[in-house]
């Protein structure tokens, strides 16, 4: 069997979605870990140090290319599958099955993914583009024990960005979408890569729900903490 046949089959396409999805899940853990440094309540020293480390390490920058490739493949393949699957029934039912056979979020991965894509564009505009290309306008921070070296003050940028209520609402809504996307996507990815052992699938399902709730709550609490002044 040729590689092209394998990866363009219905099972192969799903495998691509599963592998890129699991890769993106691992990125979420790193992202949440770095951002959680804001709760050190040290006026952003730990957070800016971690962010500077991530932005200046060659290995991390190379991995960043892989990350964007993973995101792009996941998005493109997701839309290809969504539109392809939708086209498989040109005449729909008058009375639909609805929630009698499946959960709403398992049927809405395309919609949830689209909400996340729109959020990513806003998020990149807020943080990634200024830190990599256009520059952060806030006063740079001098990290302790760095011989006066100045770094982007992303912490100050976060505080300014999350001083707007509508931005906080958009971010919390995106985290809500992320949670449901992960509740289905996490366990579905393991089924796609062929886990057919009931014991491991129970673990995957339980871990997926726990992961989805924890990671989404951690991300949602960041703008909320900033807006409500819970961090200095």
């Amino acid at each position: 069997m040729k590689w092209s046949e394998f990866f363009t089959s219905s099972v192969g396409k799903k495998l691509v979605m599963a592998l890129t999805g699991l890769f993106l899940i691992s990125f979420l853990v790193v992202h949440a870990g770095i951002n959680a440094c804001i709760w050190a309540n040290d006026n952003g020293v730990m957070f800016n140090t971690a962010a500077h480390f991530m932005g200046s390490m060659v290995v991390i920058r190379v991995l960043e290319v892989g990350l964007f490739a993973g995101i792009l493949i996941h998005i493109i393949q997701g839309y290809v599958l969504e539109f392809s699957n939708r086209s498989r029934r040109k005449t729909g039912y008058t009375v639909s099955l609805g929630n009698k056979g499946s959960r709403w979020y398992s049927r809405s991965m395309g919609l949830l993914g689209t909400i996340l894509l729109l959020f990513f564009i806003i998020h990149w505009y807020h943080f990634w583009i200024p830190s990599r290309f256009t520059g952060v306008h806030e006063t740079p921070m001098v990290l302790p024990n760095s011989d006066g070296k100045e770094v982007h003050n992303l912490y100050a940028l976060m505080k300014e960005t999350f001083s707007e209520l509508w931005v906080v609402i958009v971010y919390v809504f995106a985290c809500f979408s992320l949670c449901w996307h992960l509740v289905h996507g996490f366990q579905s990815a393991f089924r796609t890569i062929g886990v057919s052992n009931q014991r491991y699938l129970v673990i995957a399902r339980t871990a997926g729900i726990a992961f989805a709730i924890i990671i989404s709550t951690v991300f949602a609490m960041m703008p909320v903490s900033m807006y409500l002044g819970w961090v200095e």
Partner: protein
């Protein structure tokens, strides 16, 4: 509805909205029919027989629908009743659905399976030959297994034989395709692949089988599986989606270990 005991007999008058379509090329539309004095002991198909006899007496064309064994084992009956393949009862084919599932005055909407791969031929009859072609692509054992052997001569782990037997219960009715938002045939293909892959007789061709059947499934125009599990919820033989996970494993192992 007033409370009734499960065994209580009663009669009912019903309004039926049934999909009528002259042939595969025509558009089709819903027709409304009234049926009276339907016994709660009738099967759903017997109720359709009564309606068709009524239509013939009135000089109208009867409604075309698939049926054969009427025992829930052939997989021919295929009605989408009130938004659910095979109607409201869990683990039941249309022919085994009885009218006590409904109450006097109900309106029942009956549609054919909807999927591009299952084109409507007439009224409620769809063409499910795509399933036959998937089976022809590998859903069999072609190696010589010799003459019938004594029972238990070939040792099979009990757990595997149970799983294979459960998968073999698939009657190929197509309810999984009808219910799936993607019109995916994965549960059907997975049941057939699992049934044979779990048994020693099917082991020899397990790689070519899964590759061939998935390729044919894609060629027929079914969608891909997104694990909504609607297929399992409506399957009259309660085939588990665990078989889909097993198919994925079989496919990945076969595809990645292929030397061609």
């Amino acid at each position: 509805m007033e409370s009734r005991s499960y065994m209580e007999h009663y009669s009912m008058n019903l309004t039926l909205k049934v999909w009528k379509q002259k042939n595969a090329d025509s558009r089709g539309n819903f027709e409304t029919y009234q049926v009276k004095d339907i016994s709660s002991e009738m099967s759903f198909l017997e109720m359709f027989d009564v309606l068709n006899e009524q239509l013939i007496r009135e000089g109208k064309e009867p409604i075309a629908f698939d049926h054969d064994c009427r025992e829930g084992i052939c997989g021919m009956c295929s009605m989408y009743i009130n938004g659910r393949p095979h109607g409201p009862w869990h683990g039941t084919t249309t022919c085994q659905l009885h009218m006590r599932a409904f109450k006097d005055g109900d309106t029942i909407v009956v549609e054919p399976w909807r999927a591009n791969a299952f084109p409507v031929l007439k009224d409620l009859v769809v063409d499910r030959a795509a399933f036959d072609r998937i089976i022809q692509a590998g859903g069999y054992i072609s190696v010589n297994t010799g003459v019938s052997v004594d029972g238990n001569t070939i040792p099979i782990e009990r757990e595997n034989s149970e799983k294979a037997f459960a998968a073999a219960a698939c009657i190929g009715c197509g309810a999984c395709v009808a219910a799936c938002k993607n019109s995916s045939a994965m549960l059907f293909v997975a049941a057939k692949v699992s049934h044979l892959a779990l048994l020693p007789q099917g082991d020899v061709e397990r790689k070519t089988r899964v590759l061939g059947m998935v390729a044919q499934m894609d060629k027929e125009g079914f969608g891909s599986c997104t694990f909504t599990q609607a297929c399992e919820a409506v399957c009259p033989k309660e085939i588990s989606v665990m078989n889909i996970s097993r198919l994925n494993k079989e496919y990945l192992l076969a595809g990645l270990s292929s030397e061609k």
